[in-house]
Amino acid sequence: MSGWQQHLIIAPIVIPLVAGALLLFFDERQRVVKAMISVVSSLALAAVAINLFRLANGGDFEGVYLLGNWPAPFGIVLVVDRLSALMLVLASILAIPALVFALARWHAAGAHFHSLFQFLLMGLNGAFLTGDLFNLFVFFEVMLAASYGLLMHGSGPMRVKAGLHYIAVNLAAALCFLIGVSAIYGSAGTLNMADLAVRIGEIEGERRMLLEAGAAILGVVFLIKAGMWPLNFWLPGAYSAAVAPVAGIFAIMSKVGIYVILRLSLLVFGQGDSAGLGLNVLLYGGMATIAFGTIGVLASQALGRLASYSVLVSSGTLLAVLGLSNGEVTAGALFYMVSSTLTIGAFFMLIELVERGQDAGASVLAVTMEAYGDADEEEQEVEIGVTMPGTIAVLGTCFAACGILLSGLPPLSGFVAKFAMLTGMIGTEAVADQPIPASVWWIVALLILSGLAALISMTRAGIRTFWASMEGTVPRVLVMEMAPVMLLIALTLMLTIKAGPAMHYMEETVRNLQQPGTYIDAVINARRAGVAEASGPDGGGGI
């Protein structure tokens, strides 16, 4: 392993940081330059993420990066294993379409879109990479601060109101985060996740109670982020108020909470006396979330709210299934997470295009503009580029694909994901000879019912939008806006075709997570650069 590969680990944090800072030097009017920097940074990020993914999948990659070259429990570490590599790839793959979509018009709707977008990516990547609880808090705040700005991008009373609620909830959650982290530090004396996993066995009595209380408070924070009922009333308002590309990238933000819960519950609370801490909360809370999301999906009039409630269904499914703590099911859940994140990202962007033709307010505005011959319209057309031919056909096809993906019907990846989870729960030989607990049947029923509800809602919305539309106006959609949506749907198609290798990767990931020893050893025994035997050209900063 050469030195530059080791330094790739920090690149997902440094690239967006530098790009975001660089973008601040350019005036808002230099839109092309800003867009170029942002696109280059996102592409570089995707390249790095895919490279790390391949290294992590290779097996013998020692994915630990000591910041400042301090040895592990004292300094902060960044860790790349299969799970974090998967999340990095997912984030960067979702970021590119969202960015391209924004370039068509939304990035001009307010100041500093690109900087905030890059900082959001930085926070996301940092949260996925870090191996230290307090550092996780810092990256959470970076991510959230950027998301506050992005949520209110485009302004307007509705967004500011939703932003107000969103910020208030997240500030309160951040304070809980600090209480949890400091309670853990007070009882265990460490914030390094690997070190915590080692020390947790030695903590007895009152200190263990304090530790578990701290972990539980921390868990509440991640559940707020993931949107578990009853901590999720902020989510539909916030997600449906955000502009389309922002809502698209927000699709992965609710998965950050799930990622941390998965990481901590298997690493720290995988075995020992505190094993399985809070699994029941995940199980029943997740089931309540699916039920709540399903009712929301059925009750939604506006498409934006439908998509937001789909986020909740997706989160609820993941939480409930993680609560089962069954390796095979968890592998299916990871597959589901990838599939549903891509789907919901595509869906949020598609909605904006579909509603452009439908929205009463917008069409009134369009008529007025035509009547008074507004010059802006012409100018914009020249500036932006080609409109999409056969718009309605393409929009309709994408909408149908999203419906199929959300409801988990064959042939797309939504089906593969649900099938993998259901097989793990009721279909394998391991569970064949013993009775299946009632809670599993409940999850099975809820999974299938939530799919049915998504199908009903999507069909209803599709008929209303594409078939029963009286006005006969065709929304003006640009290729640049349609391409990202199609790319995301194509990715889910690829995920379907490559379902075998993908599932294999997920199973390997879960196997790694279930044996935290490897992770702990890698972090604790990480070699410092330039200290041990001459380990190559990465000796910079040696002590």
């Binding site: 307090f134 810092v138 705040e141 959230l144 601060a145 506050y148 209110m152 302004s155 307007g156 009373p157 500011v160 109101k161 932003g163 107000l164 609620h165 910020i167 208030a168 500030l171 309160a172 951040a174 304070l175 600090l178 209480i179 982290v181 400091s182 309670a183 530090y185 007070g186 914030l191």
Partner: protein, 112 residues
């Protein structure tokens, strides 16, 4: 001293929680500020409360006379981040006041 600190944290948390449940944005932001003071003191407290002890390890210094430096570093970071996010919230609060014409958190007055 622990008792005074604990009572102080408790009073501030209680007031903060009550305030963030109030319907006016200004009450919410004061509540969040009080909560963040309480949390900062709490972080400071988990390292053990000692007076007149330096967090620096010198040559020949007994370790028991030192305070834990990590909570101090954590609390500094927490103060900075909390301050920045509160300031950001204040801007949003003013924007919401300007756009909706009311300081109610829902952007409209409740029907009487």
């Amino acid at each position: 001293m622990e008792l005074v600190l604990a009572i102080g944290i408790g009073i501030m948390t209680g007031s903060g929680v009550w305030l963030i449940l109030r319907p006016r944005t200004y009450q919410v932001i004061i509540g969040l500020s009080l909560l963040s003071y309480a949390v900062n003191l709490f972080i400071f407290g988990v390292g053990g409360v000692k007076s007149n002890a330096a967090p620096l390890l010198g040559e020949g210094v007994d370790v028991s006379t030192l305070t834990d430096p990590v909570p101090q570093a954590l609390v500094l970071t927490a103060i900075v981040i909390g301050f920045a996010t509160t300031a950001l919230f204040l801007v949003v609060l003013l924007a919401a006041r300007g756009l909706t014409g009311t300081d109610h958190v829902d952007g409209r007055e409740q029907p009487k």
